[in-house]
Symmetry: C2
Subunit: 212 residues, 2 copies
DNA sequence: GTCTATAATCCGATAGAC
DNA sequence: GTCTATCGGATTATAGAC
């Protein structure tokens, strides 16, 4: 488990830059997400954080490459969950029928926050199979899963057309996942549709409103 | 380019089993899709096709590992395109408003056919960046892209609610992509929703019908 | 904490016999 | 077409000086 919120070496005096260990964590996650675990070598990491490439400097901070992978993922999952908590403190919009829109927007924003985690899974799901359920659960717990009860309530109220709620929820999630992955893959939004527009139309499809 | 449809050595006499070269092509694609390019070594391929592991037998059929990757992708793209041609010969269903449903079903079936291509991209998009547009174009040309003109026509006819057609088309595609990738990743349909049900509800969302 | 070596391993690729 | 044997390069990881 992670050392709980980076309790940090408060003993250390002035230290303006982040610690080497912290920089390795950040950099490794970026590199793993971009190139995959095997595609990233220790030398790349050392170079990126300012250690002499080829020196074993890395090993003063982590036991081996798998160690830094697991630590980086734990740190990132904690960061994402913290982001979700922050997001939930925002007041819900007061527009009529905005409940669904709010949920869609939260989902899309959280998926974007999780893009590094998704990229690692996309690259290395077979190399590290145990990561798949671990990250999937963390994603579901952090605003990516659509609340079924809320969806069914909206159908009961007649606010949105009645359809199999679990299928609608899955379609919403999968659309978000596909959109986010494609964005990462091509380096820009699919068909140049930005997140706000994607969310607006996805909401409209679910709500069934006749357009504006 | 590929030798066009496997024109094949018609000189050879009876050869009940597929050639070693053909088996390497199939096996390599499976392994690359599962484990990625770097995660698959020559020994794995040799073993899987019945050559002695560790012998250089592989190199009698391909110059190197990249050679077999490119050949396998070309072969697979040709197979997928052929599958699409076959699919288009099916008579369209005659149910009312079935135009959209037909397109959704074709898209989902073709995405499933392309799952190996998608997996290779997911694993190795940064290692072989030139593959990304190449495969993306092949996918778009083979029934994954939703025909914008048809969608706008349906809106003009009042058959489906008017919304930004390119955004609706993108949502449909991304939902299909997410659904297919998740299926591959977890080894079974997301939330145990099968393709037919996913397609039915996705169609309903786009058509805006009040459910059945 | 960081560096200079260097050990150990793995893997792609080749030469040449059969 | 397939095998034995092996070279050479790349990469993880360690030992020990500074």
């Amino acid at each position: 488990m992670l050392q709980a919120g980076n309790g940090g070496p408060s003993r250390q005096a002035a230290r303006p830059r982040s610690s080497t260990r912290a920089r390795i964590l950040r950099t490794s996650l970026d590199l793993f997400a971009q190139r995959g675990f095997d595609g990233t070598d220790i030398v790349d990491i050392e170079e990126a954080v300012g250690l002499t490439p080829g020196s074993g400097g890395f090993y003063r901070h982590f036991r081996n490459k798998e160690d830094v992978l697991h630590s980086a993922l734990e740190t990132e999952i904690a960061r994402v969950q913290e982001h979700y908590r922050t997001l939930q403190k925002r007041p819900p919009s007061d527009a009529p029928d905005a409940a669904i829109a709010d949920r869609v927007n939260v989902m899309l924003e959280m998926l974007w926050e999780m893009r590094h985690l998704m990229a690692v899974i996309a690259h290395d799901n077979t190399r590290f199979p145990e990561l798949v359920p671990q990250i999937a659960v963390a994603m579901a717990d952090s605003g990516v899963a659509i609340d079924l009860a809320a969806l069914e309530q909206a159908m009961d109220d007649g606010a949105i057309p009645r359809r199999p709620a679990h299928v609608v929820a899955t379609i919403m999630m999968m659309a978000g996942v596909g959109y986010t992955l494609a964005d990462m893959l091509f380096g820009r939004p699919v068909a140049d549709i930005d997140r706000a527009e994607f969310g607006t139309v996805l909401t409209a499809l679910v709500v069934g409103s006749p357009s504006k």
